[in-house]
């Protein structure tokens, strides 16, 4: 197991699913423009944005379609040029219906203020507060999957002192390679992005954490960072969920975010590499978040790949670029196999948080037979938060939510390790989610 020197990793739990990084060696290619895009106004955690366009309006790439509502919210921009079509509720990858704006694509006409060149802009002219405002205006959200508005993370609450910025290049989800490709193809931009974040936060230290199955990215960064001070790259053991925010903080700094707390409580802010690249583009190029890299992968996918996709592109268009939907497809997942969401139809749009589209063959799509709990303890061994998942399942099943809360059910990060290892195929995480939802509900008087 251990090579010459032991790699850093988190201390509690963890599992080792096969990584299946099929598309790791395939460079990012730009997807052809779709005929129509469907852009949901709630692609982030927080309040949905308020629509500021009307049906029939002509829009350019980068034009604001919907403005953020309050602080924990995000702007939504048009990812294409063309005419605004119907605005209605459509089902997105969450499985719920949300308001979305459809745009009929015409040409590819960008806002003049956006710098579309590939030139690397290294000088950071903006100051701390301006950076945060620019990121907010550009609608940048966490691109690792959670889609939490990035400017909120950069606004550290009064009284908290942040001394470390961690850049999450772990990509511990099996199959996904979008972060890996960005790190290989845009490392210089990411480094500028890191400097922007360090400036905005006023921190002097940053560490890029990358799982050791992406050696090329680690070596690439080490070369580029030779003459930089304050930024280092750290290879990490391949172990799921290494890229969980709390796990990454434990692995890199040996700090533990207190139960119910935030990373800033232990002086840390974590951003994903994809987000860091988007922040570079937002701040240096004035380019809002209108496109992202999406991995299309799966065991039977004809041409797996990494595509630069405009936000709002229907999944079907992306799948066609990857050689179509294989005959044996039984399930389509938006995101990775451990935490991604299964989508019900192919018109679901790619959103800011869509890191990949995974096609699972029929043979693996359905859950297997459930047996009694053997009390084998494998879920406890796997839980990266040190919880007792089998026990939380029992408590939730019995409706004993208070006890579940006392047993720290709210600390669950929903990584899925418990359900993954359960030899009895028990729906552990499903019940834990139910328990968390019930506890979050306002209490009836």
């Amino acid at each position: 197991m251990s090579t010459q020197n032991k790699l850093k990793t988190f201390n509690i739990g963890g599992v080792h699913p096969d990584d299946h990084k099929i598309s790791a060696r395939i460079p990012i290619t730009t997807l052809p423009l779709p005929k129509t895009v469907i852009i949901p106004v709630a692609q982030h955690i927080g309040t949905p944005a308020t629509i500021v366009v009307q049906r029939g309006d002509s829009v350019k790439v980068g034009q604001v379609l919907a403005k953020h509502q309050g602080f924990v919210s995000s702007n939504i921009h048009s990812s294409v040029s063309g005419r605004v079509g119907i605005i209605e509720e459509v089902m997105d990858s969450s499985g719920f219906k949300h308001t979305a704006i459809s745009i009929k694509v015409k040409g590819d006409d960008w806002e003049e203020t956006i710098d579309r060149s590939d030139n690397l802009v290294e000088d950071i002219s903006l100051e701390g507060k301006e950076i945060v405002t620019r990121i907010m205006e550009a609608g940048v959200v966490g691109m690792g999957g959670a889609a939490f508005p990035s400017h909120v993370k950069l606004s550290v609450p009064e009284g908290k002192h942040v001394d470390y910025l961690l850049i999450n290049g772990v990509e511990c989800e099996p199959y996904l390679t979008s972060d890996h490709r960005i790190m290989l193809e845009k490392p210089r931009e990411i480094i500028v992005g890191i400097k922007i974040l360090m400036k905005a936060l006023g921190v002097k230290n940053a560490i890029i954490g990358i799982e050791d199955n992406k050696r090329d990215a680690v070596e690439n960064f080490s070369d580029l960072l030779q003459h930089e001070t304050g930024i280092e790259v750290q290879p990490l053991e391949v172990q799921y969920p290494q890229g969980g925010e709390k796990q990454l903080i434990q692995a890199l700094l040996n700090r533990e975010v207190p139960s119910g707390g935030l990373p800033s409580d232990v002086g840390v802010i974590v951003h994903n590499v994809g987000t860091t690249f988007a922040i570079y583009e937002a701040v240096q190029k004035n380019k809002p978040l209108v496109e992202r890299v999406v991995t299309v992968t799966g065991k039977s996918v004809k041409q797996p790949g990494n595509f630069l996709v405009r936000i709002g592109t229907p999944v079907i268009d992306v799948l066609i670029a990857a050689g179509g939907v294989p005959e044996d497809t039984g399930k389509i997942v938006s995101g990775g196999p451990m935490m991604g969401k299964a989508i019900a139809d192919l018109d679901v749009p790619v959103a800011k948080g869509t890191s990949g589209i995974l096609l699972i063959p029929k043979a693996e799509a359905l859950r297997a037979e459930i047996y009694n709990c053997l009390h084998c303890g494998k879920c406890i061994e796997a839980c990266p938060m040190g919880l007792e998942p089998y026990h939380l399942l029992l408590m939730t099943k019995k409706g004993n939510y208070d006890k579940a809360k006392h047993e720290h059910i709210m600390d669950c990060i929903e990584c899925g390790s418990c359900s993954f290892v359960c030899p009895s195929n028990r729906p552990i995480l499903d019940y834990i989610r139910l328990g968390k939802t019930e506890i979050r509900k306002p209490k009836k008087a």
Partner: protein, 343 residues
């Protein structure tokens, strides 16, 4: 693409290959070396006892689930086969068929199904059956056929090494005299001694342990802790008075310690869920085993020790927990953040 429905379910969308039937298969494979050796030692009788025991256990579970509980049969998970094999491993190889039948019925009926089947039984079913038989048929359960390699001229059955030890001490013989009547340590290790069908060969059982560890079916915590406890505790007594107490290696290689540590105490259902709990549990088994062996009236105490500790499992699970992320123990200061590097 043809019109077809996609499956939609919450994450995770992948699952480990190590499911219940795979685990049961793995445990059965791990038991094969010991089983093969018992056939080599005791001949066809050992096969006969095992086949009967497995068939009775599987049949008992099938009939009980089907006709008494009126549920769909649960035998396909393979756990009844393991109970049957473990019961056979824990009895002499010349046991009459009706005693095996009774043992199987008690193991499955009382030990397992009366609590709700696999996963719900507090006590190890095979040991429940074994101890029931030991108390009900003390003569048949303690007449040990002699293994081939130690075959003497007239004796067909003989006492186990532990039995000889207890008798010798009772008779007031010195430890040296007692030890001269015993097989050698290599005989112990490879299993040429008398005893229950599957408990004789430390070598074969360790092979099984290695396999189960390799397949990640069990962790080291229970077997290693239990063996270490027996070794250390008997070692202490041996150092105090080597004339009254046998040496620790003898204790680990004889009787049911190895079988208990590898297959009986590691039963998922009847052992604690957390690693810390497993260590406490195995420590308890080790201590009780040694106390029964050295100071009790039975020559062997592994079965009783495991059953007693089985009863403590719910308590261990309640009070002994794994460390939690972000939750510090009361009274202990929070871990200080690592100092910031100066640069």
């Amino acid at each position: 693409m043809s019109e077809q429905l996609l499956a939609v379910s919450p994450s995770p969308h992948i699952h480990t290959e190590l499911t219940v039937p795979q685990i049961m298969k793995g445990v059965i494979i791990a038991m094969l070396p010991a089983f093969a050796l018992s056939i080599y030692n005791f001949g066809i009788t050992s096969l006969y006892v095992t086949v009967l025991s497995v068939s009775f256990c599987v049949a008992a579970e099938y009939l009980i689930t089907r006709y008494l509980l009126k549920k769909s049969a649960s035998i396909q998970d393979g756990s009844a086969i393991i109970t049957g094999m473990l019961l056979a491993f824990n009895v002499p190889s010349n046991l009459p068929w009706y005693i095996i039948l009774i043992g199987s019925l008690v193991s499955i009926g009382i030990g397992k199904m009366s609590f709700g089947g696999l996963g719900n039984n507090p006590f190890n079913p095979a040991l429940v059956g074994r101890v029931f038989l030991l108390l009900s048929f003390p003569v048949q359960m303690t007449s040990w056929p002699v293994a081939k390699a130690t075959l003497s001229f007239d004796a067909v059955t003989s006492a186990t090494p532990l039995g000889l030890l207890k008798e010798g001490i009772r008779a007031g013989d010195s430890m040296d005299t007692i030890m001269q009547t015993m097989p050698t340590y290599s005989d112990f290790f490879f299993g040429f001694q008398s005893g229950s069908l599957g408990e004789m060969s430390a070598c074969a059982l360790l092979l099984g342990l290695g396999y189960m560890l390799y397949r990640k079916i069990i962790t080291w915590h229970i077997p290693v802790t239990m063996l270490a406890t027996v070794l250390i505790m008997t070692g202490i007594f041996w150092l105090i008075d080597p004339n009254r107490f046998a040496n620790p290696l003898f204790h680990v290689l004889t009787g049911g310690v190895m079988l208990g540590a590898v297959f009986m105490a590691t039963d998922y259902v009847t052992s604690p869920v957390s690693h810390r709990g497993m260590i406490v549990f195995a420590l308890g088994i080790g201590v009780l085993t040694v106390l029964i062996r050295l100071f009790g009236s039975y020559p062997e105490g592994v079965s009783f020790a495991i059953l007693i500790m089985n009863a403590f499992v719910p308590m261990i699970n309640t009070y002994i927990k794994q460390p939690r992320y972000g939750v510090q123990k009361e009274g202990k200061p929070r871990k200080e953040p690592t100092p910031i590097k100066a640069n």
